[in-house]
Symmetry: C2
Subunit: 134 residues, 2 copies
């Protein structure tokens, strides 16, 4: 069993609390910039640099999921499960569901092996309109 990395230094700062809090409330992926705006809008002032650095450290600790949107920007969302998983993301409201998929893993492994590839990793995300948006 893999153990979650023991996140190095963590000082309980106002900024970090604000960021984690915002992530906790959101069920959608947000960019660092969006999160920064969100915080600013609700009166909690946190420097953009700090938002970037904090999100990065949270991602390193597998506390948030990271993926790139169409424009190549990094998007973050609180992790529900620490296990390997993928996402089903609504292209309209941004809501996302974490999905497990043994089937997908199996397919990736088999496909790779069939072509003589080893040490397989993969990325996969599914996009569509959620029931509320369609």
């Amino acid at each position: 069993m893999m153990q979650e990395p023991a996140l190095s230094p963590v000082r309980a700062t106002r900024q970090r609390a604000a960021i984690e809090n915002a992530l906790e409330r959101s069920r959608v992926f947000m960019s660092a910039q969006e999160l920064h705006q969100e915080l600013k809008g609700s009166g909690r002032r946190v420097g953009l640099t700090t938002v970037y650095r904090t999100l990065q450290s949270l991602a390193d600790a597998s506390r948030v999921d990271v993926l790139r949107n169409e424009n190549g920007e990094l998007m973050y969302r609180r992790c529900e499960s620490r296990r390997h998983h993928h996402h089903l993301v609504c292209t309209s409201c941004g809501k996302s569901v974490e999905i497990a998929s043994d089937q997908l893993e199996t397919w990736a492994d088999q496909t790779a092996r069939r072509h003589g590839f080893t040490a397989v990793k993969h990325v996969a995300e599914v996009y569509g309109l959620c029931s509320a948006c369609s």
Copy 2:
């Protein structure tokens, strides 16, 4: 059957020829910057702007595949098949294989439907070491 878009105006310029030629010879994904360097190295001078614009238009016409590397940079490679497909990419030498995957499509559709999502699209790439590199 979908018909390939009738690519708007296309003048046969030296630059476009150089770019298409370089793409034709390469079996690996290259960034616009890399392609630009490659051309410069082999004596064929093409402006970086032109490389970007040409690759973009080729991508629009589905003549090249586009995907983002880990750093979010756009990578291009000549398309072997115009049909929807995914890639198996060697993380060492960059060589890639186009892979079809009815299984994957089916999985994406079913997963989405199960969660009430419609209008499904998906992205998926598989990474590993090819036989020559492992």
